[in-house]
């Protein structure tokens, strides 16, 4: 039977031995799903809770409340999850080999950021089959900022042979509040990494799963090509803009109500909803320059308001558990 993870030994090895492990690695590239399973096991072995994707439409893994809200406050928090991410304006009707309106991000949050975060991260690359003495891995300055989340951090984009494969960020602020302590965030672009590892030029040619017995292998295109065609059309041409505008307003109002009712988690859901509807309106080309800034400010206010409400609802517990902690 084929090994489930090409480099199982690497998963449990201390970071400094990674190069040696990668050296003798099984060179059969992982399928898309095995790559995800390998990362799950790798981060699970390092104490992360493996969460599931958030069940709402979001633009990036950072929007998952497990990142946005949990990066606030003093409590340690170590999680990893895959987040399907939707970027309506990036749709290309399935005709571009690199661009998708729906793709996967692999997200890791470690709070507080461990001293060996870089080594742990590099270990994960080795685990999925990237040999750092064969491939040029570089940390290139990239300061991260999300105006819609009122968040920023410092870090890098990680390059593998010139291709950006991961965003590596030390969160400094979220929702306008200082992160105390700072969380380290890793965001892997799974399709890019997989295309790299499998050496394919078209995302739809990726091996999603391997053949097992009589069951044939499945390609990324088998799973997602039709989605890209239909959703590109819907995002750009079909979606009813009046409904979207009304939806945005409804979500914004509901967010406000939920904040006032002291249920910030529910409020935050509505902020996410408003953010995605705004992205759809952009794809439909119905938001002018002047309005764009206004909408973004609106979404930011909803996100910040939710973060503030979350802090308010938790801070008593936090200060009790972590004496001396202040906002």
């Amino acid at each position: 039977m084929r090994r489930r993870w090409a480099n199982a030994a690497a998963i449990f090895a201390p970071a400094k031995d990674i190069a040696a492990v990668a050296d003798g690695a099984d060179k059969t590239p992982l399928s898309f799903q095995d790559m995800i399973l390998t990362l799950h096991n790798y981060w699970s072995a390092r104490g992360c809770a493996i969460l599931q994707p958030y069940d709402m439409r979001v633009g990036a893994g950072t929007f998952h409340p497990a990142t946005t809200l949990r990066s606030l406050g003093p409590e340690p928090w170590n999680v990893a999850y895959v987040q399907p991410s939707r970027r309506p304006t990036d749709g290309r009707y399935g005709e571009n080999p690199n661009r998708l309106q729906h793709y996967y991000q692999y997200q890791v949050i470690l709070k507080p950021s461990p001293a060996d975060l870089q080594e742990q991260y590099l270990g994960s690359l080795a685990a999925i089959g990237i040999d750092p003495l064969l491939h040029d891995i570089r940390f290139v300055e990239d300061d991260w900022e999300s105006p819609t989340l009122g968040a920023w951090g410092l870090g890098w984009e990680v390059w593998c042979d010139g291709m950006e494969v991961t965003q590596f960020t030390y969160f400094q602020q979220m929702g306008g509040f200082d992160c105390k302590p700072v969380a380290g965030e890793l965001t892997y672009g799974l399709e890019r990494l997989a295309m790299y590892i499998q050496n394919v030029d078209n995302v739809y040619d990726l091996r999603f799963s391997d053949a097992v017995g009589d069951v044939a292998a499945v390609s990324y295109g088998d799973v997602f090509l039709e989605n890209e065609r239909q959703f590109s059309k819907w995002n750009f041409e079909v979606a009813d803009t009046d409904t979207l505008f009304a939806g945005f307003k409804a979500a914004a109002d509901e967010c406000q109500r939920a904040i006032e009712a002291g249920v910030p988690l529910a409020a935050y859901d509505q902020a996410i909803e408003a953010s995605h509807l705004f992205n759809l309106l952009q794809a439909r080309g119905v938001i002018s320059v002047q309005e764009r800034a206004n909408y973004m400010a609106r979404v930011r206010d909803l996100a910040k308001g939710s973060c503030k409400a979350w802090i308010d609802s938790q801070s008593e517990r936090w200060t009790e558990k972590y004496p001396g902690w202040t906002l």
Binding site: K16, A19, P74, N98, P112, S113, P114, A115, Q118, E119, L122, D131, P132, L133, L134, H135, D136, I137, R138, F139, V140, E141, D143, G153, L154, G155, W156, C160, D161, G162, M163, Y170, Q172, D178, C179, K180, P181, V182, G184, Y196, D201, G285, V286, I287, S288, V289, Q290, E291, R292, Y322, G324, W325, T326
Partner: protein
């Protein structure tokens, strides 16, 4: 004498910050040592992405002992004074020295061990270090007071001689251990002293000297290209950046699909440089070839084949995007692209880019038809100006803003517009700063001049002038560019009326823009939107209708002309023209023809370099002083000159005045200086031979009148009171 090594190891420092960080480390180290009474001497400062290193050679073992002497109160002073002095010095009365009735405290400060000074200096340096952006990290960041660094700080090596300098900052204690290359030698290495530091690191695949890495990138990239029969396109910025991204740089040559070469070479170069930090190469024909050089950070096991293959793939994806933009943009004419400029705000007070384009087109056409820009077809000037900004809304310029102008030129040529128009579109932003090429093609000059004059006039009308260090719309640079265009092309015209036209056009734009704003606010149209060009002054509130702004048109234009005078001094400084002489000519007033003004200034400067010039200036200053003390001076009385010296000066003035003014009128400025020079001997003789303040009131008045005429004659050429020296 002992050597000191400091290494501050961190996670990857952005390449662009490393040079400033080295300077900061040196500055802080010197300051710390000097505060302790030590001279830091020659320092070596190195940087890699993961470390800053400092080596100080030949430090003394200890600071010198110092004896400080403080003067105190007199011994018969009230007891309170003595008590205060004892408190201040921490001594007792019997420790003081009584010297002739005055107490002195002599305090001996023993020397301190240098190691001790260093142990205190290191944490202070780390805490005071100024990064452009810094961050918190790890467990300690639960507190707001936690240490900040550019990226997490992970280790400190501090060795004085062969001894550890024990210190600690932010929970990081100094030690002998550092780390080698992230992938080649990830383990710890132990440093013994300054002398083995660089070599131990080199053995662990780290070249700590950034200049050595830069040389490897520079030479290695050139060699990689040459080995393939290609020539590297040199780019020192890329050399430094790649050296700042690597500890063990290995330049590698790759190739891309030749078919991409149909895209303009500047686009390929920019794509490679900005997005990927690659060098590009030229072929034997001197044209861009289908090669690139990337800089890896490892000695790859396979010699770099996989790295090159990966980088090639990334570049191919980038170049396909660029080619897509290139093809997409050409599906429309520039005129069609230009229609979208009506959706782009130039400045909230000044309306859209389309409004600006129309103003510029009108002005460019006028400059041509008036012959201010000679040999320029007004229709071509208008056409070029109308299309000059169209590329701002193309995909390519959206992706690479630095290609503005250049892409417009390419697209204009591709759609078969006249070369003069395409060149003008390409070059109308020039000159960008001093040292840039100044356009000479007439259509280009007309558009370049009109564009910048309009920008200045409009922002002046909108009261958005530069203040102090703030010049958000680069108006100082625009002014210098206008001056370069005028002077280098010898354009003859009075600036003032044109500045007036430009500010008035700006005023109209403000009125129109405010009308549009009101209309737009009323119908919240959800029209298709594009980006804002560059400029939003900050606050969108309280825009006054034009006319309520403080200055009237004419003062506005005069104010702008003064601004030109200031910039002219800056612009001419490099050419060695004295700023005080520019003032001396500007101060005459009414001179707004820059070419004529500069000719006059240059003749004056040549004159001031002669003996006649300096003596005449001395004579002028003496005369001006006497006149100033005398107060009001009436003209020369129509009497006979009291002495021969008076008569000689009078005769000289009678001859020099008409000669000087005729020469000025005919722009023979050297001749006007010669006419002034003829006054030098008579004025010297006058001061030698007579006393102005003669006891005889009538004689005194006569002589004052004579001096007033002399200074007046000099002022006909330049205001000598502004001349220094």
């Amino acid at each position: 004498m002992t050597d000191f090594l400091l290494e501050l190891r961190s996670e990857e420092i952005p390449a662009r910050m490393q040079a400033a960080a080295r300077a900061e480390l040196e500055k802080l180290f010197r300051a710390q040592l000097s505060a302790a009474g030590l001279e830091a001497g020659d320092l070596t400062i190195w940087s890699t992405p993961r470390r800053l290193a400092l080596i100080a050679k030949g430090l003394p073992e200890a600071t010198a002992a110092v004896s400080e002497e403080l003067k105190g109160p007199r011994s018969n002073a009230p007891p309170q004074a003595l008590e205060g002095f004892l408190r201040k010095t921490g001594l007792t009365q019997d420790q003081l020295e009584d010297r002739d009735g005055v107490y002195f405290a002599v305090i001996d400060k023993p020397g301190r061990a240098t190691a001790e000074v260093l142990a205190e200096a290191i944490p202070a340096i780390v805490r005071a270090f100024a990064w452009p952006k810094s961050m918190r990290w790890g467990k300690a960041s639960a507190s707001s007071e936690s240490l900040r660094w550019v990226r997490p700080l992970s280790g400190i090596v501090a060795i004085f001689g062969e001894e550890l300098v024990p210190c600690e900052v932010g929970g990081i204690a100094s030690g002998f251990a550092t780390r080698g290359h992230r992938f080649h030698c990830p383990g710890e290495i132990t440093i013994g002293s300054v002398s083995d530091y660089a070599e131990k690191l080199r053995a662990c695949h780290v070249i700590v000297d950034h200049e050595e890495r830069q040389a490897i990138v520079r030479d290695g990239a050139a060699k990689a290209a040459a080995d393939a029969g290609l020539t590297l396109v040199e780019d020192e910025g890329l050399v430094i950046e790649n050296a700042g991204l690597t500890e063990w740089p290995v330049p590698l040559l790759g190739r891309f699909d030749e078919a991409f070469l149909e895209v303009p070479p500047e686009v390929i170069q920019l794509t490679a440089r900005v997005n990927q930090k690659y060098f590009v190469v030229n072929g034997a024909d001197g044209k861009l070839a289908n090669g690139f050089v990337c800089t890896a950070n490892i000695d790859a096991k396979d010699g770099g084949a996989e790295i090159v293959a990966g980088n090639r793939k990334v570049l191919a994806a980038r170049l396909s995007d660029a080619r897509f933009f290139w093809e997409q943009d050409q599906k429309k004419t520039l005129a069609q692209h230009a229609e979208k400029l009506a959706n782009i705000t130039f400045h909230e007070k000044l309306g859209t880019v389309a409004d600006k384009v129309e103003r510029v087109a009108k002005l460019a056409e006028w400059l041509a038809s008036e012959g201010i820009v000679p040999n320029c077809d007004p229709a071509l000037a208008r056409q070029a100006a109308e299309l000059a900004k169209a590329d701002l809304v193309t995909e390519m310029v959206g992706e690479f803003p630095e290609l503005q102008g250049l892409m417009g030129g390419y697209y204009a040529r591709a759609e078969g517009l006249p070369d003069a128009v395409a060149d003008a579109i390409r070059d109308h932003y020039k000159p960008v700063g001093q040292g840039d090429d100044v356009p000479t093609a007439p259509v280009t000059v007309a558009v370049a001049l009109a564009d910048k004059l309009d920008t200045l006039g409009a922002f002046w009308a909108a009261d958005e002038k530069p203040t102090g260090s703030k010049d958000p719309f680069a108006l100082r640079r625009a002014t210098i560019s206008i001056e370069s265009l005028i002077i280098q092309n010898g354009l003859r015209f009075g600036l003032l009326p044109i500045l007036d036209m430009a500010t008035q056009a700006g005023g109209t734009a403000i009125t129109n823009a405010s009308k549009v704003r009101v209309r737009r606010a009323m119908d919240a149209a959800k029209a298709e939107g594009l980006g804002v060009m560059a400029v939003t002054g900050g606050n969108a509130v309280g825009l006054k209708p034009f006319g309520q702004y403080s200055m009237a048109f004419d003062t506005r234009a005069h104010d702008l002309l003064d601004f030109f005078a200031d910039r002219l001094k800056v612009q001419q400084r490099e050419a060695g023209v004295r700023h005080d002489l520019i003032d001396a000519v500007f101060a005459l007033g009414g001179e707004d023809d820059l070419v004529r003004l500069l000719a006059r200034v240059k003749a004056l400067q040549a004159f001031m370099a002669t003996e006649d010039g300096t003596n005449l200036l001395a004579g002028y200053k003496r005369a001006a002083n006497i006149l100033k003390q005398a107060g009001e001076v009436s003209g020369i009385a129509a009497t006979t000159p009291p002495t021969d010296a008076d008569a000689a000066l009078l005769a000289a003035l009678d001859a020099a005045e008409p000669a000087a003014s005729a020469a000025v009128a005919e722009e023979r400025f050297t001749d006007s200086m010669a006419a002034l020079a003829s006054l030098r001997a008579p004025i010297d003789a006058f001061f030698d031979g007579v006393m102005v303040n003669d006891p005889d009131e009538a004689v005194r008045a006569y002589r004052l009148g004579l001096l007033a005429r002399f200074t007046g004659a000099v002022h006909g050429v330049a205001d000598f009171s502004k001349i220094e020296g």
